[in-house]
Symmetry: C2
Subunit: 315 residues, 2 copies
């Protein structure tokens, strides 16, 4: 896809990926509604295949390749959920996935990629070495590069989570979505613009990794430098394809503290009985911190993923 | 209700409680299906109001009371999920709930009952003192006693979980259900008999609390004496109203080890991304232990609850 996905592109993506992903449930909690004074609808992408919304974009890209392209496999560098999602998507089409991972990646993430038969090449944990190593892998294999977010087909795929949410819950005033590289956010903002124009989209970001907010305010992409947050899925800088979409269709970006991310996670575990990773708890943290005008509104929240080491819960 | 609930009683219970409970989702996992070699459908009563299926029966009893009965409130002794569920149900109807709790109840359970405005009377942690204290409370208040499982209306209420499961998933070969006092099990067995006669119901029990198995094999209720298991929801003995239903409609009872209960819990947290209490993990433990002939079957599993202290995870 070489241009911003239109409504028909997102509907097509939704149809193509449907056999290979979960239509995740939307959960509600009376307790949370009382606590926030609003009606909250949680779209549980933590239950998604491979544990995160990333499976949507990855499956869409892999299923959209021509047979000739697919034959040589797909490649990316990632230490996170995109690595697992791409390895799984490739395994469904029975093509190789070449994943460049930093040598300090958690064992649990390495194991997950291996479980889906991904071919791992380790590199030094710097962006430069990740990119150079990936280039070498692609030179050798001619595999198709799949960027985790700066890719219009990925954006169309991630957009399908909000599409399902808008189908399942009518009259939302607001959708809250975490922002890292901006794949989920730009997809969510596009879908919402196409399907429910009166619904606003607000992005939520850790204050220790507030490059998206600063980019949004200044009108140019400000790279994420030494971000510090427990929300390990939100460390990356905005992509150049994602940013203009976010500028046009996202209403605002708010930031949250580390302590409220942990408090939000804990409430989601204890009261909603679900396992979420820190990044997924960021939008609910924004509500706990009163960073969003929420009273009496109907609010959709995208819980982005649930991949976390249970031995290292922060509460 | 003075006799075994019929099909129409269960359908009526389902209709009456519907505005006050969650229709909980059914989750699936490709990974688990591969692991067990079957198709598994998990009915997530851990997401139920007050964190367990107990809300179904409690709401049904409370909503079925006449205004005259209701006025004086409801009463029970419980240190577990029934206490919270009954307090919540009473709060919906705006009537008092008198809950007798052993003095050694976990603070988290006491807090939950208080949150729903339950009136707590503490007693010594023996069955004798629980029953005597409850009798005194009832003598003083004239409140309506709601036994946690040995009550036909409670059975009709708990039966609605399997009703929803059978509506959402067709052609189940088997439903697996944990057994403690037998409220959920007798309800599940009745619904399944009425709505899907070819579906078998198998109960799962910790081997350290195997009174249901021994009762089932000998044909008379054998009380649970000094049960030892992490599954704190399954410590009680079978009720006299529950046992005949179980004898007639349950195909078999299987037992599982403590280590496989913990392994099952851990898999449910890590792979299904859900919080379950140990009792809820018992049926999946039976599959992990190969205690049930599962291969190629379509199997429903009732995950009974999710109330657990996250500071004390056993893995």
């Amino acid at each position: 896809m070489i241009k911003i996905p239109g409504k028909s592109d997102i509907l097509r993506a939704s149809e193509i990926i449907q056999p290979y992903i979960h239509r995740t449930p939307v959960l509600t909690s009376e307790t949370f509604n009382k606590l926030i004074g609003a009606e909250l609808f949680f779209k549980c992408e933590n239950f998604q295949k491979a544990g995160a919304f990333k499976s949507r974009g990855a499956v869409y890209v892999v299923m959209s390749l021509s047979d000739a392209e697919a034959k040589k496999g797909v490649a990316t560098h990632s230490s996170g959920n995109h690595a697992q999602a791409l390895a799984r998507a490739a395994s469904i089409r029975n093509i190789p996935a070449f994943i460049v991972m930093p040598s300090n990646s958690p064992q649990v993430k390495i194991d997950a990629v291996k479980q889906y038969s991904g071919h791992i090449t380790f590199c030094k944990p710097t962006l430069k070495d990740r990119e150079e190593t990936l280039q070498k892998v692609i030179d050798n294999t001619k595999a198709f590069e799949v960027h985790p977010y700066d890719n219009f087909s990925i954006i169309a795929g991630q957009a399908t989570a909000a599409k399902e949410l808008l189908e399942d819950v009518n009259n939302l005033d607001l959708i809250l979505c975490p922002v890292g590289g901006g794949g989920l956010l730009s997809g969510t903002a596009l879908t919402t613009h196409y399907l429910s124009e009166k619904t606003e989209v607000i992005a939520c970001e850790p204050s220790g990794a507030d490059d998206a907010l600063r980019s949004f305010k200044t009108g140019k992409i400000i790279p994420s430098v030494n971000p510090e947050t427990i929300a390990d899925g939100l460390l990356t800088s905005l992509g150049k394809r994602n940013f203009p979409i976010i500028q046009q269709y996202v209403k605002d970006i708010v930031t949250v503290s580390e302590s409220s991310i942990v408090a939000a996670m804990r409430l989601l575990f204890e009261r909603m009985k679900i396992v979420v990773e820190p990044s997924a708890a960021v939008p609910f943290a924004a509500l706990l911190e009163n960073k969003v005008a929420a009273k009496t509104k109907r609010i959709g929240i995208i819980l982005s993923g649930g991949n976390i080491d249970l031995k290292q819960l922060p509460f």
